[in-house]
């Protein structure tokens, strides 16, 4: 029978099918951060359980950590307690921790791939919806809740209903100035914020195949923003080249065996998806969002569209969203003054994002009205930035690098966009108050962020 890539990996991990119920699925890799794990470890303690397979769980604090002075104690006692609780739990239960100050610390979705912990064919979970990032390697990777984190710790398994499958094909040549982020924001706007709920998405087509691993991670990372359970891309030579030599990747004969298996991980020619959608890369412009969910987006030169007149219930939410942002239907946002720029997050906090940003601002100066927070996704990204001299280019243009972490993406640490201020963010969510109470977020790719940081207004990078 012809199978999809998703089916092949899912089916290879089924331990039990429960009658009329969910699947008991085996998990190859489990990532933990400090926010969604403490209650799960506590649950084990209350039940008197150990971690069943401690060698398969890796932890890194990322959400709460400061992006300045990480060598000093965290000033917020509640944040500090949560980070220290992860350290205590990792030590007590014998799982690997890349804690604050460790050279491998960083955003969990950035460090997993960097260290070869994320590999093709794996099932990967984490108490974090952006776990879909790892699907870029041809893995079945998805976010889970804390009760499910406890299940994985206790049994290395999870109970999950099998999602439906969807393939999104993007073909054609990308226009100049269009990034992977723009592809994702375009797809989400077309699909809407809930349009892929219940589905596991495979991204395919020539445009996707031509993306680098980091670009693929950006696309898969945002799958959850259209409601998808996860997103994935079939592994190929680009994937294998990325994985080879990384610390936890197989070596020698094991590597050859692994690659031979990975080459089988693709949807069969006549595989049937529950839904199949096609997009043309030539239709994609640099994107921005204008509302309070990632589906409310448009090309940077466009005007804010009117809501669907047929959708009575939807109109209320649409109006509330625009009221929060301070925008109106028909308004153009290109040229609108901005206050903050945030480069970072598990969406756009990798080395290629910093290269793109640095190359763009090279020889230019940051606008005086803009506060820019540049937050690498990990210490390995930071080290690479320095090795390539990007830090000097950024400094000359008036930008400072902060220390790695999730930072202003969800503002659990001090990096909060002040109330009413407008931020251009390379992160993943523009929800009300996401970047701090009252903050207003415009999601964009690293090039729109760089161009806007230079001019102080929302700017199409192709016009500079």
């Amino acid at each position: 029978m012809a199978n999809t890539l998703f089916d092949k990996i899912w089916d290879a991990h089924v331990v039990n099918l429960i009658d009329g119920g969910p699947t008991q699925l085996y998990i190859d890799r489990h990532y933990c951060h400090e926010v969604t794990s403490p209650q799960a470890f506590d649950g084990l303690r209350q039940r008197g359980l150990k971690v069943f397979r401690p060698e398969k769980t890796f932890c890194s604090p990322d959400h709460n950590i400061p992006t300045l002075n990480q060598d000093k104690p965290i000033s917020d006692p509640v944040s500090r307690n949560q980070v220290e609780t992860l350290t205590r739990n990792a030590n007590e239960f014998g799982v690997t921790l890349y804690g604050l100050g460790h050279k491998k610390n960083g955003i969990i979705h950035v460090i997993g791939p960097e260290n070869g912990l994320t590999l093709p064919g794996y099932t990967i979970v984490c108490g974090d919806s952006h776990t879909s990032t790892h699907g870029a390697f041809g893995a079945v990777a998805f976010g889970i809740g804390t009760s499910e984190v406890e299940m994985v710790l206790a049994s290395q398994c999870i109970l999950q209903p099998k999602p439906k499958t969807m393939r999104i094909n993007v073909n054609g040549k990308l226009r100049n100035g269009v990034t992977a982020k723009d592809i994702a924001l375009y797809i989400i706007a077309k699909m809407t914020t809930g349009g892929a709920t219940g589905y596991f998405v495979e991204y395919a087509g020539e445009t996707i195949r031509n993306l680098s691993m980091e670009e693929r991670m950006t696309v898969c990372n945002l799958s959850i923003e259209m409601g998808a359970r996860g997103g994935m891309i079939a592994p190929d030579e680009i994937t294998f080249a990325y994985c080879k030599g990384r610390e936890f990747a197989p070596k020698g004969e094991e590597w050859e065996k692994a690659v031979a298996y990975w080459r089988t991980l693709k949807s069969d020619e006549d595989a049937v998806f529950d839904k199949e959608i096609n997009f043309d890369a030539a239709d994609i412009e640099p994107r921005i969002t204008f509302g309070t969910n990632p589906g409310m987006g448009m090309g940077i030169g466009e005007s804010i569209p009117a809501p669907d007149p047929e959708d009575e219930a939807g109109k209320i939410s649409y109006a509330k969203s625009l009221e929060y942002m301070g925008f109106e239907v028909g308004q153009k946002l290109e040229g609108h003054p901005i206050d903050y720029v945030f480069l970072g997050s598990c969406t756009n906090g990798r080395i290629e994002d910093f290269r793109a940003f640095a190359n763009f601002v090279k020889g230019k100066k940051k606008a005086d009205n803009v506060t820019a927070w540049l937050v690498p996704g990990s210490w390995m990204v930071t080290d690479q930035i320095k090795a390539e001299g990007l830090d000097k280019i950024l400094a000359e243009a008036g930008f400072e690098l902060r220390q790695p972490g999730c930072s202003a993406c969800l503002a659990m640490n001090e990096d909060k966009i002040p109330s009413g201020k407008l931020a251009v963010s390379t992160s993943n969510r523009n929800f009300e108050g996401r970047q701090g109470p009252g903050s207003r977020t415009i999601l964009a790719g690293p090039l729109v962020a760089a161009a806007s940081a230079i001019t102080g207004i929302l700017t199409d990078p192709r016009k500079i």
Binding site: L49, G143, C157, G194, S317, A411, E432
Partner: protein
């Protein structure tokens, strides 16, 4: 063991917004606790309280007209972040049922794992229910898990809803997934051995 679930009859609290994301259900700055308790105080925090912590009178949770343990929400409820704190906040506030025409996947699982029942109804049933509650805030709804039905008592209209038999059994008997998985240890070890 959690509170067993059977038949619930209650008035409803209406929230006719669509795409209510988990950042609105509980904002990130309230996720720093290391226990499961107390999240109900900050449920819908930024819609419920102003910057100074004063209740915003127009928000439905601050309106004494509405009460009950059933939350009725617009479509695509619980989108965004996987934070189970959102389900903890809903349960801790006292909700036992959330009714919507559409739930985000992760949040739906999180509700079930916390003995809050997500009931998916048709767009038509939902629109009528919002209308019913608008006209009579004391209107009652019956959620019958054994029969898998939801009934709007004012109009008498009823719908069946889906839930997989395993989860239904868990809810009705106060059982959680961990106990089940622990009972399958032999299967897990056999699976691991088979892969080597």
């Amino acid at each position: 063991m959690k509170e067993k679930f059977n038949i619930i009859t209650s008035t409803c609290i209406p929230l006719p917004m669509e795409n209510v994301d988990t950042d609105q259900i509980i904002p990130a700055r309230f996720l720093k606790a290391t226990s499961r308790e107390g999240f109900g105080d900050n449920l819908f925090r930024d819609w419920r309280y102003d910057k100074d912590g004063k209740p915003i009178e127009t928000f439905v949770l601050n309106d004494p007209t509405y009460s009950g343990c059933i939350l009725v929400a617009g479509k695509n409820f619980g989108s965004g972040s996987s934070r189970e704190h959102a389900a903890w906040a809903i349960a801790d506030y006292g909700f036992r049922v959330v009714v919507s025409s559409f739930f985000a996947d992760i949040h739906k699982n999180n509700e079930l794992n916390n003995f809050v029942l997500p009931v998916v109804v048709s767009e038509g049933f939902l629109a009528e229910l919002f209308n019913t509650i608008g006209v009579n805030p004391k209107a009652e709804v019956i959620v019958n898990l054994p029969e898998q039905t939801i009934t709007n008592r004012e109009t008498g209209h009823s719908e069946t809803f889906d839930i997989n038999p395993y989860k239904k059994h868990c809810l009705m008997n106060g059982l959680d997934d961990i106990e089940f998985l622990l009972s399958k240890k032999n299967d897990i070890e056999a699976y691991e051995a088979g892969r080597k």
